[in-house]
């Protein structure tokens, strides 16, 4: 489903990704784990080209792009937009549209991008809100919702595009501890439905339970990857062992 080859990205002198390759099969859940500044969020944002890589190639479904430094002619606005419509993304800070109700947030992509008729979009949006347990909050404004509720609306908004892949960028990092569970439960139910997902997370226990594959990154390279349980329980590399030590101490 996703194929990434030789991805490189630097911001100024700061090299964030050096030659990263990764594959995600259809229906697979991949957890991207690593210390902050390891490049995991940048890698995630390259998958839907919110960040344009300097070099390397990316394929999502049947869409493929390759980049060769400044020589690359960037894809046009419309091409990028159509490509991004195939992936759903959930952000750390929710980024709900504050001038729209929960329902309108979920409908927005369908109506504006997919040109779904309003009535149909509304029905589908209500179904999705029911799926994330918020059908009774359909008419609420984002500022009336708790963090966990906002994030669940944001997940419904992304799902409304019927994406081939869902990308989660530290979806629970901005939440109060008692609200993390409700969001993780929704992500877990998506995994059960067979959704292909790439999840940047600090929740190691959750990654162990839900992810098929764990990719550990540090300093812009993939240090170690493999079946999530194996990597977490028996990390091979020193960097991975050091990073997971705190998690193992707690459990």
């Amino acid at each position: 489903m996703i194929e990434i080859q030789g991805l490189r990205k630097q911001f100024g002198d700061n090299v964030v990704l050096r030659d990263v390759s990764m594959q995600v099969a259809k229906g697979q859940v991949v957890a991207l784990v690593g210390p902050s500044g390891s490049g995991k969020s940048t890698l995630l944002r390259c998958i839907n080209l919110l960040t344009i890589p300097d070099a390397g190639s990316i394929r999502v479904g049947e869409h493929a792009f390759s980049f060769q430094g400044t020589a690359t002619r960037l894809p046009g606005d419309r091409v990028l937009a159509r490509f991004r419509a195939n992936t759903g993304m959930v952000f750390q800070h929710f980024n709900l549209f504050p001038h729209m109700s929960a329902l309108q947030n979920v409908m927005e992509g369908m109506v504006t991008v997919l040109h779904t008729p309003r009535k149909e979009a509304r029905e589908r949006a209500l179904q999705l809100l029911a799926k994330v347990g918020l059908v009774d909050k359909a008419d609420a404004q984002p500022q009336q919702l708790s963090g966990g509720q906002k994030q669940r609306v944001a997940i419904a908004r992304a799902l409304a595009m019927q994406p081939q892949v869902m990308l989660f960028d530290e979806a629970t990092s901005a939440l109060d501890p008692e609200l993390v569970g409700e969001v993780l439960a929704v992500i877990q139910s998506l995994a059960r439905d067979g959704m292909t997902m790439v999840i940047v997370t600090h929740e190691i226990a959750f990654a162990r339970e839900v992810a098929d594959v764990l990719v550990f990154m540090r300093d812009g390279v993939v240090v170690e990857s493999g079946p999530a349980k194996d990597v977490i329980d028996h990390p091979q590399q020193a960097a991975t062992q050091a990073f997971l030590a705190r998690f193992h101490d707690q459990s």
Partner: protein, 218 residues
């Protein structure tokens, strides 16, 4: 001790009425044109290409940093000579006032747009919206709410600035007042009256702004 006497003003009521109509008419034109210039210059300053950005910045700085009275006079006397065209006083005055207002409007519009959190644009991009759709559906609706009070404030300034068009002999409220003073030698009552007329028009506008500002906060 000065003897105030307002009664004679009633005789000139039709003059004041036409003066007020002209003032309001010029205001409407200068606000509409000014908003158009402001929108173009405000968006232009956010353009990706320097070719668009720099001329817009130049325009804004030029008109913000010169007095509008000088601009009106310059547009009436100098511009026709420079371009070899005829320019009516009304055209010169409306153009100068609109460009002047537009420079200020553009700063409000630009500021309103860049005040919207970058996360909003990212979320819209992630949904697959094009630049134009993001502007129309996500950024502008939010920015407009923040921009409305300052835009209205600037529009009040626009109305007051139309009092300067009398310099090129346009029959606005101030010009009519001057005419009345010439005949009656009673400037105190005359200017008091037109000050009250400006006040009567603008007081409702300022209270509307206060209400909108309270709403924009929530």
């Amino acid at each position: 001790m000065y003897q105030w006497n307002f009664e004679f003003l009633w005789e000139y009521r039709s003059l004041f009425a036409t003066g007020l109509l002209y003032t309001l008419g010029y205001t409407v034109m200068c606000i509409a044109l000014g908003l158009l210039f402001g929108l173009i210059a405000g968006m232009g300053q956010l353009a990706r290409f320097g070719v668009v950005r720099w001329p817009m910045k130049g325009y804004v700085e030029l008109f913000r940093s010169t007095p509008v009275l000088v601009q009106i006079i310059w547009f009436y006397y100098a511009l026709p000579v420079l371009l070899g065209i005829e320019m009516s006083p009304a055209m010169a005055a409306v153009l100068a006032l609109s460009l002047y207002g537009g420079a200020f409007y553009s700063e409000i519009i630009r500021g309103g747009i860049i005040s919207i959190d970058v996360g909003q644009t990212e979320a819209a991009r992630a949904l697959g919206m094009t630049r134009f759709q993001i502007m129309r559906r996500v950024v502008l609706p939010q920015a407009l709410r923040r921009m409305t009070p300052p835009l209205l404030n600037q529009s009040i300034m626009q109305l007051k600035n139309t009092s300067l068009v009398s310099i090129v002999a346009l029959p606005d409220l101030v010009y009519q007042a001057q005419a009345v003073v010439h005949e009656t030698y009673r400037p105190l009552e005359t200017y008091t009256l037109i000050a009250l007329m400006y006040l009567a028009v603008l007081l409702p506008a300022t209270s509307l702004i206060k209400r909108l500002e309270r709403r924009a906060d929530t």
